[in-house]
Subunit: 400 residues, 2 copies
DNA sequence: ATATTTAGTCCACAACGTAGACTAATTGGA
DNA sequence: TCCAATTAGTCTACGTTGTGGACTAAATAT
């Protein structure tokens, strides 16, 4: 429920307001900030002074547009102090990204590993090494890592950080959060959700969309008005188990005819006879050569995706649909059939069918979204960073 | 985006906090309020004084639990001052409800009319008369009607108050909001959404659930953490067009095999040969007599509902599913098959399948939800009511 | 040069919540 | 019966924060 508003909360709110505007608009003078926030110049000056002192914001040189009057001094987000860690465990790679407060990517580490054949503990230990060395390097560059988030391909209990079931990895009930102790506030979440947030903050994208993550399973992350929809328990977005045909092939979820059985990576690659990223590359090259079998596989998957998405559009009303994961490289060959299917199934009811676009970030989306989530949190509540300034305590745990 | 926090916003926030606690807990002493809100006794006393002066809250007699110390004076929501209007247009009736600030229903008016055979303007004119006489009576009883909301069976553009398409009524692009001018701030919304809110505030229910409204069309309202999920444009919840079978019977939406074609009122009543509420009553009595045709119709509908709900659960992760509308009287005969279908399709993936329960409110849900929404708004921002205290201006328009 | 315009700071002030002393009203026990 | 203990609620001095307008600073236009 709502919280008591005291003077400190008032200040924190206004601090976040100012920092949010600076973050959203790039750079602004104090006068412009006063205008957009509705606060007085006096108040804005004080708030900006605080933000400068904390190192979240810096003055740039004065900027002039040839207008009359005293030129204003613009301030912008300071990127060389605060940063966040974005991590991802996926089937055939581990990824680490460090993103600073201005949302620039400061460090990229990706390691190709076959995580399916390894034990969860070993995978996590390897990620831990990778992450710690990235943190070291970032700290060496003067950055302070205030927190991190980890993307995992499967539903996660947000409170405990336990991965219930990651079929791609073959994991069941792995307590990832407690195994991966980095001495930082950490947060574990579904890959599709974080990839959606990555698309929101680092992609070209709109602020309302459904991100579809095609892997062995198919997940989705729904962003409405710039924030993630998680459902009652945080397990929303399991697009892969939306029913395409009620008496279709059995699915590992216990159901039948789930989307995953038609458009999941395994179904797609059935025509190539190979699994994993090798198979995917083969499929892409075959489809480029207009191999009829491969093209048919794409059309079949695209049709099924269209059917499942028509249900989804009816239920959650997304503005745009962004295809990522394996659907990104195959986009040119599934785009048409998906749109067509959607159009024929929704066209009469809706004024407009949501446009289908391709993810720009590729496989980086989830790790970036993970780091971005921590950055977002700092920008949404910079005051939280003020208190632990004297001791070198990290940010308090990130709760969903 | 966020708003600047000034002293008045701080006060407004705390006022809402206190009023919200009183509303949620029934009645509380100032000392107890200080404890639950985290504010000091001093502040709570001042806030409560304001609320009493505005007539939103009253002191009850002192209450004692046999404990030591000075007894506290409890305060509770005052129900005899502020009230809201809830309206509903449906196929065969018009409904008006007046609900006071303590969420007691003060006035019920229902009129049986066949709205399908009448022109939209006439239907709205008739509702207008009904509503105005209800307002008169309420005002005569000393109540001040601060706003209203209208439930319509079909998707509504929340901004303009235009009903795009209400198949049950045969309406297309009717500007309901501007036609129904009551001299009150008014708000038009989808029946399923408002029924869900009715269930939230007036039902037994939980705070996280999916309300399924079975009529000729099938709609749904999703409530997460006590608030309604509307999607990007407010058209979320069109459960009736979730795909049950991709090559099933054609649907008026342009698609094929939509849930509506299997479990909508028309599909259900096909066995009785009669339409409307008469047909429904016939079906219920036939199913009670274990008429095999009627039982089969229910099983068929229940199975389809289970299939569509399994997609829905995967996508939006509701905690509970509440069946309303035509599904309420038929509940005993569809309950089993829905749960069974859901269980077999979700059981392996999820720890628990959301329980299926029946709506308690019956056909009243939407009108109550409509009024409740206005009441909720007052409780969430009582300060908005303070300003127009001297002039007799109504509440500012209710924006979604 | 001087008027005009815009940016940013300074200062007295108002709004609000806080802390703790103080008064009020009750129960338990000597 | 009366007093200590306990809890409710009010009162007052005070701290924090935003405001409004005067004031200073730095540019352009004439």
């Amino acid at each position: 429920m709502a919280q008591a508003v005291r003077h400190d909360a008032m200040r924190a709110g206004n601090l976040a307001l100012v920092l949010g505007e600076v973050s959203a608009r790039g750079s602004l003078t104090r006068a412009a900030l006063a205008e957009v926030t509705g606060l007085t110049k006096t108040t804005v000056s004080k708030l900006v002074a605080d933000l400068i002192e904390t190192g979240l914001v810096v003055e740039t040189g004065a900027v002039r547009g040839g207008e009359r009057g005293r030129p204003g001094v613009e301030v912008r987000i300071r990127g060389d102090r605060v940063a966040a860690l974005g991590l991802e465990i996926n089937v055939d790679y581990l990824a680490v990204r460090v993103v600073d407060l201005s949302r620039s990517v400061r460090l990229r580490r990706t390691q190709a590993v076959d995580n399916r054949s390894a034990q969860p503990v070993d995978v996590i230990a390897r990620l831990r090494d990778l992450a710690l060395s990235a943190v070291d390097e970032a700290v060496g560059n003067g950055l302070r890592i205030v927190g991190g988030a980890l993307a995992v391909p499967g539903p996660v209990d947000l409170g405990s950080g336990v991965v219930h079931n990651a079929p791609n990895l073959g994991w069941r009930d792995v307590p990832v959060l407690s195994l991966l102790d980095l001495g930082l506030p950490l947060h574990v979440e579904n890959e599709a959700n974080l990839a959606a947030l990555g698309e929101l903050w680092f992609g070209s994208g709109p602020t309302d969309f459904l991100y579809v993550s095609g892997e062995i399973g198919i997940g989705a992350g729904l962003v409405v008005a710039g924030s993630l929809f998680r459902g009652a328990r945080g397990f929303a977005g399991e697009l892969g188990h939306v029913v395409v045909a009620p008496d279709g092939p059995p699915c590992r979820c216990g159901g039948q005819g789930c989307l995953e059985q038609y458009a999941g990576q395994d179904a797609l690659l059935r025509s190539t006879g190979q699994a994993g990223s090798v198979g995917l590359m083969t499929l892409v090259s075959r489809v480029k050569d207009q191999d009829p079998e491969a093209v048919a596989a794409c059309r079949q998957a695209g049709w099924a995706l269209g059917v499942a998405l028509s249900s989804t559009v009816n239920l959650v009303d997304p503005d745009t649909i962004v295809l990522g994961g394996v659907f990104a490289p195959l986009f040119p060959w599934i785009d048409g059939i998906v749109t067509e299917t959607l159009q024929s199934r929704l066209g009469q009811m809706r004024l407009s069918v949501p446009p289908i676009v391709v993810s720009r970030l590729g496989f980086e989306a989830a790790a970036l979204g993970a780091a971005g989530q921590v950055i977002e949190r700092v920008i949404a509540d910079p005051a939280a960073l003020f208190q632990p300034l004297q001791p070198s305590q990290p940010l308090q745990p990130l709760q969903p």
